[in-house]
């Protein structure tokens, strides 16, 4: 049954920090950067004292920075006290789940103007400790005890996907190549360069040093080189994995009656879905995330649109396999066919179904709690046709979608936006 909210809700401002590794900045300071950009993005301005509540997505502030109870602390740094500051934790979906709670709090009549976003500061920890922290999001008594890391869970889906549909590791690599190409056009991206650029820069460096010069023929050849692109959890290699990142993103969500006070080019949240599933072994299929199918179904029904109506999407490509699974789960492609679409270039920036124009988590970076909000920031720019070099070349842009996954699919949060 399609749900209708008691009040319409729209986004009237969006901002993000640069994503990357910033040793001298903590998550509070990154969130202030995102907040300042968000404030500047509100066409007709706002007095921040009018913000009535703050939903803050934070997956693991305790582990990364030794700081729990982060919502009021962030509220303090943003000058928002004493308003309600609520922390939401749904692993890597925390940012978009925060935006959903903002939407619900407005539709309820409790608030009219609500800030939502996320921030994460991951680069302080060693890779092993980051691996442990992310592994905490899998089920400690079945998956973690089996030695699962985060990449392992997706890598397992990848082997099942290859066996079931005949995809090869090269198809995963193509996703990475595409997303790096997009990220090369995004100044906020952690990897602001294509894989070809990275390869060539390594060749230049080797020449500069006067040592052995690598003989990679092309990007694919580079990605097949265990030295350049080592296995993390086979078949996922380094360039199949999103990086360890610091960053923050936030949006301002308001009630429909107030929208025009802030902008004439808002993004209405016309559909929203949220669903859960159990550990990998308890799922109906190993090549699809049921939470994503359920959540997208909810969102499409609420919005009254179909997958083919969506013009641009940001999907959760924490690993390259994840983007393929996402494209199928949200109904853009039939099960087992997404890898062919990528091979054909259908999801490139200038393809018929552009996916992750921002560069995705793979290239833009994946400060886990910020990522879901960062996806919405990208859709904000794309639908308002303010995305610069990476603007998708589609006429009459109106509908965008974000697909944000928590952990390895235990949560999926889908939002559909319409520019009006």
């Amino acid at each position: 049954m399609a749900r209708k909210l008691n009040r319409g809700v729209a986004i009237v401002g969006a901002g993000m920090s640069k994503f990357g590794a910033f040793p001298d900045k903590n998550s509070r300071e990154l969130l202030v950067e995102a907040f300042i950009e968000m404030m500047g993005s509100i066409d007709k301005g706002i007095d921040p004292k009018d913000i009535e509540a703050f939903y803050f997505g934070d997956a693991a502030g305790e582990a990364f920075e030794g700081q729990g109870h982060t919502a009021p602390i962030m509220g303090d740094w943003l000058g928002l006290l004493p308003i309600p500051c609520v922390r939401v934790e749904n692993a890597c979906a925390s940012g978009s789940v925060a935006i959903r709670q903002a939407m619900l709090s407005i539709a309820s009549g409790m608030h009219d103007i609500v800030l939502a976003g996320g921030a994460e500061k991951m680069s302080n920890l060693s890779t092993t400790r980051v691996t442990d922290t992310l592994a905490d999001f899998t089920d400690v008594y079945s998956e973690r005890s089996a030695g699962f890391t985060f990449p392992t869970a997706y890598a397992s889906m990848a082997t099942a996907y290859m066996a079931e549909y005949g995809a090869r590791p090269e198809h995963f690599m193509m996703v990475g190549i595409k997303n790096h190409r997009n990220g090369a056009l995004n100044p906020k991206a952690q990897f602001n360069s294509s894989i070809l650029d990275i390869m060539n820069s390594k060749i230049s460096k080797a020449k500069g040093k006067g040592g052995a010069i690598p003989t990679w023929k092309d990007e694919m050849d580079f990605l097949h080189d265990e030295g350049a692109n080592p296995i993390v959890a086979w078949p996922m290699r380094l360039f199949d994995c999103s990086p360890i990142s610091d960053g923050a993103a936030c949006v301002l969500v308001v009630a429909e009656e107030l929208v025009r006070r802030f902008t004439d080019s808002p993004l209405y949240i016309i559909g929203s879905g949220l669903a859960s599933c159990g550990p990998l072994h308890d799922r109906d299929r190993l090549t699809s995330i049921s939470a994503a199918r359920v959540a997208s179904q909810q969102a499409y029904e609420m919005a009254g649109v179909k997958p083919q109506d969506i013009q641009v999407a940001e999907v959760h490509d924490c690993f390259t396999i994840a983007e393929l699974v996402a494209m199928e789960d949200i109904g853009f492609y039939e099960p087992g066919t997404a890898y062919k679409a990528v091979e054909e270039g259908a999801t490139a920036l200038d393809g018929p179904k552009p996916i992750n124009p921002s560069g995705g988590l793979k290239s833009k970076g994946h400060p886990i709690s910020a990522s879901g909000a960062g996806q919405v920031v990208e859709i904000w720019h794309q639908l308002r046709e303010e995305a610069g070099l990476r603007q998708v070349p589609i006429k009459n842009l109106r509908l965008g979608l974000t697909h944000n996954i928590g952990a390895h699919g235990s949560t999926c949060s889908i939002n559909i936006f319409e520019r009006r």
Partner: protein
Amino acid sequence: MDKRPFTIASFDQFLAEGKFMGMKCSKCGAFRIPPKPMCSQCYSTELEWVEMTGKGTLSAYSCVAVGTTMMVEEGYDRKNLYCTGVISLEEGPRICAQIIGADSNNPESIKIGTPLKVGFVERGKGEERRTYLAFNP
């Protein structure tokens, strides 16, 4: 019939005794491994312990070069990968477990559909040392 409570603590105790026990709902027949104190299918608390045959097939896997601290402490690293995955059990349910005795450094040699048999593996140091579920080809 074993009367232990349907808790993770009991499941771990069984593992330490070398037993792979599943929780089965007496009402609807659903399996839950590891166990839950209430059937998540039909909400019944009439449950029973069933010793699993331990036979299954490999449904999904990965060979891991960058492991968690627990696995790193067991000696696994970029040169010595471990294999873990999802096993479909003869009785129907699936479970995640480490796959021992697979050629983990040659991931492409491992085939989905391979028949597996339950085994057990000990990991951890000192007081933390425990028995974990594992499978062998």
